[in-house]
Structures are given as C-alpha cells and as structure tokens.
C-alpha cells in the first residue's frame, strides 16, 4: 500500500496544526458557527443528533494492521469502543467531542491517516474495487490511479468550494464492485487495441433525490491525461453547476440539463486548451506510485493443500458454507479473497468494535500479508489469504463474531445510520436492518444472492436506489413509513429500482419483504438474480403480492 514520504507527512502535520488553531478560534468565539462549519466539514466533522461525528478517510478502502489498531485506540479513547464502516469505504465515529478532535487528528496523522474532505462541497474519498490487485477478473489495478487522484484532489485550491459534493470511483475489473455508474465521475480502466491503458470516463451518475446512471463522456482517455481531463470536468462543473438550489447542485443535474453532447463539448474544449498541463502523468510517475501496490511475495501452494482443505470442508459444513459464500477467486494460485462480514443477523450493519479491530489487525498480519480493506457494502476484505489457512482463519473469526457466512446474501444488508444517529434522517434504518437480517438469516442459502439496501432519508447514503430491494424511510406526519423499490443494481449493469407502491408502516416491512422474496422464488429461473427476474416478469407480480387485498 502507499507509504507517505516526508512531503506527505509534513503536509498532514501542517494541516493538523491549522485545524487545531481553527478549533481554538471557534471555542474562543473568534469564528462563527457558519464559518467554522465550512472548516470542520473539510475535516469530516459533522454535528449529529447525539454528538459530533468524525468521518475518517480510508483512501480507496485500504487499511493496514497499524492503522486498524490506531482506529481501535481512537474508538476506546475518544468514542464508545466501536466504529462504523460506510458505503464510501470510510469509517465513522459517532460520539466525538469537538475539543478532542485536534488530538484525534494528530493521532491519525502519526499513522498516515486523516479526515480531510470526507465532507463538504469538495472532492471526497475516491473509492475503488475492494478486490483491487487480487481479483481473478482484473484488467489493471485501480489503486495507483486512486492514489494519484487522492493527492491531486486534496485541498485543491480551485475545487474546494464546488456547488456540491463530488465523488469519484474507479474499477479495473470485468465485474464492477465499486458502483462506478452512480458516481459524479466514474472510471473504468480499459485497454485500447494497442494494449495501452486508459479509462472509459463516465460523468453525472448519482443517487439521492434525483438518482441517475452516469453517461460515458469519453470512451477512452489515455492514462497520462487522467488529471488534466478530471480538471476539465471539474472546471466546467465549478463554473456552471447550479448554486441556487441545494437539491439541484450535483453535476448529474448539469449533465441532465445540458445533455451529454453539450457537456462533452464543454469539457473537451477546456481539455484541449490544457494540452501542456503540468498534470500530465509521465510513465515514471505512474510507475513510481504503482510500485507501492506491488503484490506481496505469495507462497506457492503445497501439493497437498487442496486435499487437506477439501477434507476440512467435507467434515465441517459450517466452514464449507462460509468458504462458498465469503471467498472469491484470487489471481495467485492457492489463494483466496476473504470477505469478513460485519452483518451478524440482528445487529447494526457495518459496526465493528475496538476488540474486533484489534483481532482483525492481527489476522491481517498472520493470514493476509498485513492488508485489510473496506468495501462499500460495509464489510471488510482480507485480500491475500492462503486457501490452506481458511479453516484456521474461519475459526479465529468465529470467536469474535466475524464469521457470518452471508456475503452478498439477504441478511448482508446495507443500511445508513438513520434517525438513530443522523440529523439528516427522516426515519430509522438500523432497527429495520436488524429485524430483517434476523428474520432472513435462516433462509439466506435458499434465497441466494440478494442485495437489500436501506436509507433513512432521500440522501440515500444506504444506496437504496441500487438495491435489488431498496427501502427508503420517510416521515408521514411524524410516523415512520418505508417506501420499497425493486430491481436496482449497482454493478456494471447498474439500474435504478422502481417504486412499487405506497410506503408501508414500520410494522409491515418484514411482511412486505417476505412477499417480494416469495414472488422472486416462485418466478425465478435457474441462476437468475433478483434484478433479472424483475426485468423479465415486470413489476406487476411484485405489486400484487404487496398491495393486493389479502
């Protein structure tokens, strides 16, 4: 993973000192809340229902044992002993005191972490495929480009006061595990006919009040031109994005208003004027960054490894279930990508205690060449595990409640913090997730892959628009109701879910989801996933099941 040099370290030290002074001025009454709010948001500090919430950046979802241990220490020392992993691969602490945040940022800086730009109208954490560098279907590792984008976008003087937030995601594999098509800028790594690396650039995707799938603005951009092209897009957005209406300020609205052709004209005109930009990436620069992400020295599998594993799988059905559900094919022979589920049925999705973090740090060291990652689905990944280690790893994870065999299944639910924590929410999401996961867990295997996503308000941090089944909490005269959508998808075939009828009260949600699943199980063809069934049979069977008189 990327290691800071002296410039990166001093950059952070300067910013921590600057922030410390900003807090001092706020507490002394020299800064109004309005002015300070802008500054604290640039360091990911929100004021929520119960306390300040600090959102710490985990660049493209990559963590080390050292970082994870520090996060555990921060959880214990400054919070209530746990953290929450988010749908943008970051981590949030919910019980933070403003007066302690300068010390927290100083402790983060010591291990090359920060909370810069995890909020505010600026370029946010650039997210990536959590299987980067190890997936069997990978074309090219997205992480070097994410690190390049991270540095370029950090406290960019021209683009720190945008009309609204700006999110970029990068994928380098055949399967899109980064939800690229619903980002403000999405990047798919491609190779042209000459075999050169470049990007398909998409623009104007996003969720929230007006969900839109991104459109291709440039089918192939040579990798050297990445940053100038991003600047061209940002410059057009900064100039023309709406600033009069909070709900119409994202770049997706601008693209929708102009149309993709006019947007492309504007961006390409600006890009053409930047032909000698100092941001053009020389091969040596890309190579130097890429060197930080070289694969570890994998052990070659021993001849008997598979046989030994096979015996363990045959004699321990629970292990076999977990290996089947929570591991994915790895490029290196004899290895697997392990998903650590943070979705124990009946518990808040994506939460992780300090004790669990410390255990995971040790397991990453022992079993994963010192690396662990965060997915946008609020789970963790150990990316470099020997298959022969799977039984022992599973046992160790199980002791800490981290071995739930539900990756990608019905009880692997994404949920935002919702009204239990968030001042923007209209309804609670965690209790719905807990109830549903507890109810569905026993049927996980029967149902198969099913992505249920829950948001507590229209800001859609739970990504409900792109859930196979999406649930949106709304407030009807002070009472919590839940609107249900079906047929969404977040991968390379991204689609927005369709609303199937009026919102249902909280007590009806489980019954409603059951009814939808029944329709799916009844009508699906062999191997057909929920969104495919929706497309094939249409919404009518689902509507009837939910709203027809009993």
């Amino acid at each position: 993973m990327y290691r800071y040099d002296e410039f990166d370290r001093r950059f952070l030290e300067e910013r921590v000192a600057q922030y410390r002074d900003q807090v001092r001025r706020r507490l002394a009454g020299q800064l109004s809340e309005d002015e300070f709010r802008l500054l604290r948001l640039m360091n990911g500090l929100y004021l929520q229902l119960h306390a300040y919430m600090l959102r710490i950046a985990i660049p493209y979802g990559t963590l080390s044992p050292e970082k994870l241990r520090r996060l555990a220490r921060i959880a214990r020392r400054y919070d209530r002993g746990y953290g929450h992993f988010t749908t943008r691969q970051n981590i949030q602490f919910n019980w933070i005191k403003l007066e302690e945040t300068p010390d927290i940022l100083a402790e983060l800086a010591e291990i090359e972490m920060h909370s810069i730009q995890t909020s505010g109208n600026c370029i946010r954490n650039t997210t990536a495929d959590p299987f980067a560098g190890v997936a069997a279907d990978e074309i090219e590792d997205p992480r070097p480009y994410c690190e390049i984008i991270r540095q370029w976008s950090t406290l960019h003087p021209e683009f720190s006061f945008l009309p609204r937030k700006f999110k970029i995601a990068v994928s380098g594999a055949a399967e899109d595990r980064a939800a690229v098509r619903v980002h403000d800028i999405g990047l798919y790594i491609r190779r042209n006919e000459a075999g050169e690396v470049g990007f398909e650039v998409l623009v104007g995707g996003g969720l929230g009040r007006t969900p839109i799938i991104g459109k291709t603005i440039r089918p192939f951009l040579p990798e050297a031109q990445l940053l100038p092209y991003l600047e061209a897009i940002l410059r057009v957005y900064n100039a023309f994005g709406r600033r009069d209406n909070l709900y119409k300020s994202r770049i997706k609205i601008l693209v929708q208003a102009l149309g993709i052709e006019k947007m492309r004209d504007a961006v390409e005109t600006e890009f053409a004027a930047m032909s000698e930009s100092p941001l053009t990436l020389p091969d040596e620069t890309i190579a130097a960054i890429a060197a930080h992400f070289a694969p570890p020295a994998y052990d070659a599998p021993a001849a008997e490894d598979e046989a030994v594993l096979g015996l363990a799988l045959a004699t321990t059905p629970a292990l076999a279930r977990w290996v089947e559900r929570n591991t994915a094919p790895h490029r290196a022979p004899g290895h697997a990508i392990v998903t650590v589920s943070l979705k124990p049925p009946g518990r808040p999705p994506g939460d992780c205690s300090a004790t669990q973090m410390e255990l995971l740090a040790e397991l990453a060291e022992t079993y994963s060449h010192g690396e662990i990652r965060v997915t946008y689905e609020q789970n963790l990944v150990l990316p470099h595990v020997r298959r022969s280690d799977l039984p022992e790893l599973w046992r160790r994870l199980g002791e800490a409640g981290l071995a739930t065999a539900n990756a990608g299944l019905a009880s692997d639910i994404i949920a935002c913090p919702g009204l239990d924590y968030c001042s923007l929410a209209n309804a609670r999401s965690i209790p719905i997730a807990e109830r549903l996961s507890r109810h569905l867990a026993a049927r996980d295997h029967e149902i198969g892959k099913l992505h249920i996503k829950i948001s507590g308000c229209i800001n859609a941090c739970g990504h409900h628009h792109v859930g196979h089944i999406g649930i949106l909490g709304v407030d009807k005269n002070g009472v919590e109701f839940y609107q249900i959508t079906v047929g969404g998808s977040a991968n390379e075939n991204a689609a927005l879910g369709a609303i199937i009828g009026p919102a249902v009260p909280s007590a009806e949600v489980t019954r409603a989801i059951d009814a939808l699943i029944e329709v799916y199980l009844r009508l699906r063809r062999q191997g057909e996933l929920f969104p495919e069934t929706c497309r094939r049979v249409g919404l009518a069977p689902f509507k009837e099941a939910l709203y027809a008189p009993a």
Binding site: D8, Q18, L38, L39, E158, F159, S160, F161, N238, A239
Partner: protein
C-alpha cells in the same frame, strides 16, 4: 475598503465607479463589465490605469483580447461557499497570462486566503480590519500543496523532483 496586499494591510487607491459616474483622465478606477462592453473603444484609449470588476458568472476567456487594458481585475465571492471565482482566477493567470493585480472582493474568509492565492489572487478586500490583522499570518500557515498553482510556490511533485 482596506486591502491585504504584499503581506500588509493597505488603503485601496482605486475608485470603483458606478456605470453613470464620469471617469476623469488619470483617475485610477474600475468599471463594471457592462460598462466596459458598452464603452470599450473609448475606455481602451483612455490614458491611466483601468480596472475591471468581473462578475463571477462571466467567462474570462471572452476577455482574452481585452486584458492588456487592465491593471486590476476584481473577482467576486458573493458568499464564501461560492467558488466560481477560483476558476476565473486560474484561467486569468495560467491560460490568459494576466499579470496585473487580481483582487478578491466580497465574502472572503481568513481560511480561504491560501486557496485564493494558489489560484493567482494577490490582493484581498478586508471586511473587518480588526480581524484582518491576523490575515498575513494565515498566508504563511502552510507551504506544502499537492497541485501546481499560480503563486510561484513549487508544488509537492516539483519538490519531490528537486529532492531527487
């Protein structure tokens, strides 16, 4: 209104004329973009220093041929969250080669000064003189940046290359 310029708080020597006000020769004055557009011929031939007040929704690129007439361009920050003028500043400096004074006016926060200077702004209207005593210090607070910029200060990539 006083200015922060060259590290000090100074009085503003410029007059900012309404469109109807007469423009005596030799008077150091700024005019609106509307007036410049209407009286371009006459104004460009007028001796003495002239400045332009650029609204933050106007394209600087359209002024490429006109910039030689100005010693000052003022940029507008109607609210501190409105960042359009940062892009205008960069275009004026980097693309159009403007060498005169680029001044930030409007709602300017102390903690935005460095962003503005990195975009090529070299003068700042001071709203509250008492608070602005601290502004020169704000401009010296940080010296490491990840992007190339228009204030002549080398960015991190350049510093890395120099460090070898």
């Amino acid at each position: 209104m006083p200015l922060l310029k060259d590290g000090r708080i100074v009085e503003d020597p410029w007059r900012h004329l309404d469109d109807a006000e007469s423009l005596p020769d030799g008077q150091v004055a700024t005019v609106s973009l509307r007036r410049w557009t209407a009286e371009r011929e006459a104004l460009s031939r007028r001796p003495g220093r002239l400045g332009l007040r650029l609204p933050n929704d106007a394209s600087p690129l359209a002024l490429a041929d006109d910039l030689a007439s100005f010693d000052l361009v003022t940029l507008a920050f109607p609210r501190f969250t409105d960042g359009r003028a940062y892009s205008q500043a960069r275009l004026l400096r980097a693309r159009l080669g403007f060498r005169g004074e680029l001044r930030a006016t409007g709602n300017v926060l102390r903690d935005q000064l460095l962003f503005m200077r990195r975009c090529g702004i070299d003068a700042f209207e001071v709203g509250d003189r008492a608070l602005a005593e601290d502004w020169p210090r704000a401009l010296r607070e940080l010296d490491l940046f990840y992007q190339p910029a228009e204030d002549g200060h080398p960015w991190i990539a350049r510093q890395r290359a120099l460090a070898g």
